[in-house]
């Protein structure tokens, strides 16, 4: 160990500490939102129970991000659950199923807004031709999983929607994922869920 070596090492060490002192907080600052649950845990009123039926979807506007105006709003398709027609979800075993089906318009391919067409009883995406059936399961095109849904409940005759969740092809519930993330087969292990949600 030489005097010169100690001085060089000390200079590098102090320089490194000083750089890390601002570098690490800045990095955490930039990456922090990834680990936060940004969606509000509030139930939103979307209408009275009489507004909905089990045969067709009714579009309603809901907020997914607060305080940014139009850009934070999205359309949600709602209908009453039809116990005879709707397939049973594994997540509902031993529990009451959600009273209403609230389907997001976010295509599970790349996130374009889908539209429900009553004549064919299907959801169709204008961007790359994704098609979903009446329950939002993939019927054709590039999407990798069914359309996401929202939790629903009824309070004093008003229908409310809660957080978004993703479903696999058996309608099993998962934490909300990005479009294009698989939830079936071996592929699902390549798309980890968010640390926060």
């Amino acid at each position: 160990m030489t005097r010169r070596g100690v001085m060089t090492g000390g200079a590098l060490l102090y320089g490194g500490i000083a750089s890390a002192a601002f570098g690490l907080p800045a990095l955490g600052f930039a990456l922090g939102p990834m680990f936060e649950d940004g969606t509000p845990d509030v139930w939103q009123d979307v209408g009275a129970e009489e507004d909905f039926n089990a045969e067709t979807y009714v579009p309603k506007v809901a907020n997914i991000v607060a305080d940014i105006g139009e850009a934070g709003k999205t359309t949600v398709y709602l209908r009453r659950l039809d116990p005879e027609r709707d397939s049973k979800s594994k997540s509902d075993k031993g529990k009451e199923p959600l009273p209403y089906v609230a389907i997001t318009t976010r295509c599970s391919h790349l996130g374009c807004p889908v539209r429900y067409i009553q004549a064919s009883q299907r959801f169709v995406c204008p961007c790359h031709g994704g098609v979903y059936d009446f329950e939002g399961k993939v019927d054709g095109g590039p999407p990798v999983r069914p359309l996401d849904r929202f939790y629903t409940r009824v309070t004093n005759g008003r229908v409310e929607i809660g957080e978004r969740f993703s479903v696999n092809s058996e309608l099993e519930r998962f934490s909300p994922r990005d479009p294009s993330n698989h939830l079936d087969g071996l592929w699902q292990y390549l798309y980890p869920s968010r640390p926060s949600t």
């Binding site: 939102p33 940014i68 850009a71 374009c112």
Partner: protein, 282 residues
């Protein structure tokens, strides 16, 4: 050498000799010959004073910075025979970048990266600000021009084989510059915040999310959260005007340094000439 000097404007030329008087030489270079016969006119004094002052200022800067050998090496370096217009594509790309930087700085004076205000402020630039349509148009079309030029420059380098030893590192830096330029296009596309740019960016971020393992985290980093929200736009704006241009500027510096250090290549169709030793010395 004096033939190479551009013609001097009339008002700077020395007055012609009066009739019956032995004048200085025929042209302005008379005094340099040292003939003290005629007094130089005020214009000549002015010109010489200005030239001397200029020399002094340049000399003062050069003595302290040592810039002249660097500049001389940069500006008067030898280029191979056969250098042609294709060799200007790199400079053209850099010019496009500088024009993007300048117009971008001025656009930033009016633009407001708030989700509720962004569209209005962009429309304000186009419709209300003096020459706003022109500056925004230059930035908008200039981005396309820069992408076209950078690909042409890359194609020139590839076809001419100019990426080979010892210029591989410059090729690598160039590829990084290409990726960063495309990232500029991606982040800038969102900023007008109209329907087209919003949905195109939603799809673009979700394409990032489709990458296995890291995809979801990358998308979260781009959006600044799980949803496309309030911080997403300002995040794209900061990347577009601070992070990526800084990286591009630094890499352009490294790119140019290597060009000056290694020199350019001759076009591939030019055969090496066989020279005698005495000729090679020249």
């Amino acid at each position: 050498m004096s033939k190479l000097v551009p013609p001097i404007p009339k008002f700077l030329r020395p007055a012609p000799p009066r009739p019956g008087q032995d004048g200085p030489g025929r042209n302005g270079g008379g005094d340099e010959n040292g003939d003290g016969n005629g007094k130089p006119g005020t214009a000549v004094k002015l010109r010489e004073g200005a030239a001397e002052g200029g020399t002094q200022v340049v000399g003062w800067l050069d003595e302290r910075s040592g810039a002249s050998p660097i500049l001389r090496g940069m500006l008067f370096r030898k280029v191979p025979k056969g250098t042609n217009w294709f060799y200007t594509l790199g400079s053209a790309t850099m010019f496009a970048f500088v024009s993007q930087a300048v117009t971008g700085v001025f656009l930033a004076m009016y633009y407001n990266p708030d989700p509720a205000r962004a569209y209005e402020s962009a429309a304000y630039i186009t419709n209300e600000v003096f020459l706003g349509e022109l500056v925004r148009g230059m930035h908008r079309w200039g981005s396309t021009v820069m992408i076209i030029l950078i690909f042409l420059h890359m194609g020139r380098t590839f076809v001419f084989g100019a990426y080979k030893y010892p210029r591989e590192l410059n090729w690598v830096i160039g590829v990084l510059l290409l990726v960063l330029t495309l990232a500029m296009g991606f982040t800038g596309y969102l900023l007008p915040f109209d329907q087209r740019s919003f949905w195109a960016t939603v799809v673009g971020v979700n394409i990032n999310a489709s990458g296995p393992v890291v995809g979801p985290y990358l998308a979260d980093f781009l959006r600044g959260g799980a949803e496309f929200g309030a911080v997403s736009l300002s995040r794209f704006y900061a990347m577009h005007m601070l992070l990526i241009p800084g990286l591009i500027g630094a890499l352009i510096g490294a790119h140019l340094y290597l060009v000056a250090k290694l020199g350019t290549t001759a076009p591939p169709w030019l055969k090496a000439e066989k020279k005698s030793l005495s000729q090679e010395k020249i």
